[in-house]
């Protein structure tokens, strides 16, 4: 074998090693991004469950003051494992509506609004909502990072080979984009 052939083979081998290294590195980076999204997704589940629990407790407190109106503040909200982003958004909207109804009732029952239980739960809900916002923003930041990688060349080649597609964002209601404010 001539020297030039050996040099060509070495160059080809080096190029193959570089490409392989890049492929593995990029593939791992995409895997990490997907794992981060999954973690953020389950973080949203936890936060939604906490919010649901807090709202359920709030409903119990409201029941004591507005017995004849209790049916108006009940809405069927199903939280289950493996919900899609859209389903989570729907559940979140239903909870917003439930929260709104509770606030309206509190306006009609001043003794409810001034009760210690109600105020403590309102504070809990504010905190839980902050956690939901944090989870949502973390989820969206991770989705944004993955989506950017998926559409950027040459990462898009690896993403295509792995069958990855752009993920859906967890959209926030306009009102939720502001700081959580509550009238106590």
């Amino acid at each position: 074998m001539s020297t030039s052939t050996i040099i060509i083979l070495i160059v080809v081998a080096v190029v193959i090693v570089i490409i392989l290294g890049w492929f593995i590195g990029t593939s791992n980076k995409l895997n990490r991004a997907v794992v981060k999204i999954d973690e953020a997704d389950s973080d949203i589940d936890v936060a939604l469950t906490k919010r649901y629990d807090a709202l359920t407790k709030m409903v119990d407190v409201v029941k004591g003051y507005a017995k004849h109106e209790k049916e108006t503040i009940f809405e069927v909200i199903n939280l289950r494992k493996g919900m899609s982003v859209q389903e989570k958004q729907d559940a979140s909207k239903k909870m917003d509506a439930m929260q709104g109804q509770i606030n309206v009732l509190a306006e009609a029952y001043p003794e409810l609004k001034s009760s210690e239980n109600y105020n403590t739960l309102q504070k809990t809900i504010v905190d839980v909502e902050e956690h939901i916002q944090a989870s949502r923003r973390m989820f969206n930041a991770n989705v944004s990072m993955l989506n950017q990688m998926i559409v950027s060349f040459p990462t898009s080649i690896v993403a295509g080979m792995k069958g990855l597609s752009k993920k859906e964002f967890f959209e926030a209601d306009d009102i939720k984009k502001e700081d959580v404010k509550i009238d106590l």
Binding site: K36, D127, Q133, A134, S135, N140
Partner: protein, 359 residues
């Protein structure tokens, strides 16, 4: 109980281990305040000036008293300078006469100057003036803004408190003084001047010093409960450190990218729990931090740990230091002191630390 121990068992006269260098000129030997676990339990041994002492004297009387002390210190310094020059010239002349070489006396001028500067800075009169100035101007001003204020010019935030934040390299030289704690809008805080340096000697025997941090360190009670710890460092600060690593038992910090691109350009964020970072750094908080960054000169470091907020402002300034060669003016100095502590007000006001909704 030992006389040097406070109620928490921390010795008041403990020296910060400073190896291998000599104490910096113009620095009061550092004594440590107690390790800070909770802002709510500040240092007990810090001494506040008895209020009646300030109240019974009029502003003019205080000014006159301070001016007398200042003039006394200046006179002493001038005397030392004159005596030093005379001694130097005498020795220099004798050496020149004996050797006929001017190089040695000229070289000796550097040493003579250094010795004179050191003596001028450690004289009793200067220390007395600085102490009186801080007691009667600084503490009095602090009391007009903060409650439960305690000030001790000789103590500082312990090195371990800053080291435990794991947010920056700690070098091998640590100084801290002008420690004070108090409350603003019912928020507990602590503050101290801090200098962190790294000194090393190269193979040629030359000594080099790198300053990692020189400015103020603040610790605030934080209004949100969160897991883990995280740090926000201005990108222009080069001595930040990530927690954990190959040989560390601590949980490793990960770099966290926020959704605010402008914020990402100005700051780097590292933390052990991404959720906590997003929970504390709301879009509004990030806006506020950017706003503070535009208003405060120097590099900013934030560390959120154990529900405390540590803030480092690397501005190369030493707070509350009077100028010996400048006449005392209570009115002017009060304004200066107020400007110097403005950062505390900004941190509490802009970051809304007094919002207790999350407690």
């Amino acid at each position: 109980m030992n006389n040097n121990q406070n109620l928490n068992g921390v010795t008041g006269n403990q020296q910060v281990p400073v190896q291998p260098t000599q104490p910096m000129p113009q620095q009061v030997p550092v004594q440590q305040a107690q390790p800070v676990q909770q802002v709510q339990q500040p240092v007990q041994q810090a001494q506040a000036v008895p209020p009646q002492q300030v109240q019974t004297q009029t502003s003019d009387q205080i000014q006159q008293e301070l001016e007398n002390l200042r003039v006394k210190a200046v006179k002493k310094q001038n005397m030392i300078i004159v005596i030093g020059i005379i001694i130097y010239l005498t020795i220099g002349f004798l050496v020149f006469q004996k050797t006929g070489d001017i190089t040695l006396p000229l070289f000796g001028a550097f040493f003579a100057t250094a010795i004179i500067v050191i003596i001028c800075n450690v004289i009793k009169e200067k220390t007395q003036f600085i102490k009186a100035y801080k007691d009667k101007v600084v503490v009095a001003t602090l009391k007009t803004i903060f409650t439960d204020i305690h000030f001790d010019m000789e103590k500082g935030i312990p090195e371990s408190v800053i080291a435990n934040t794991d947010m920056m390299m700690m070098g091998n030289i640590y100084y801290s003084n002008d420690y004070f704690y108090g409350k603003y809008k019912d928020i507990q805080f602590q503050c101290s001047d801090v200098t962190i340096q790294y000194e090393y000697t190269d193979s040629d025997g030359d000594t080099h010093t790198t300053t990692y941090f020189d400015g103020q360190w603040y610790i605030f009670e934080f209004n949100k409960q969160f897991k883990g710890s995280f740090q926000v460092c201005e990108k222009s600060f080069h001595y930040s450190k990530r927690q954990g690593g190959l040989f560390s038992k601590k949980e490793k910090d990960e770099k966290i990218e926020m959704e605010d691109q402008e914020f990402n350009k100005q700051f780097k964020v590292f933390g052990t729990d991404a959720h906590s970072v997003f929970y504390v750094l709301t879009p509004q908080t990030m806006e506020r931090i950017k706003s503070i960054n535009s208003q405060i000169k120097g590099d900013l470091l934030f560390c959120f740990k154990d529900n405390l907020l540590h803030v480092g402002v690397y501005n190369g300034k030493d707070l509350f230091e009077p100028r010996l060669r400048k006449k005392v003016d209570i009115e002017r100095d009060t304004v200066t002191t107020k400007n110097e502590i403005n950062a505390i007000l900004q941190f509490v006001d802009i970051l809304h630390l007094d919002n207790d909704l999350f407690k």
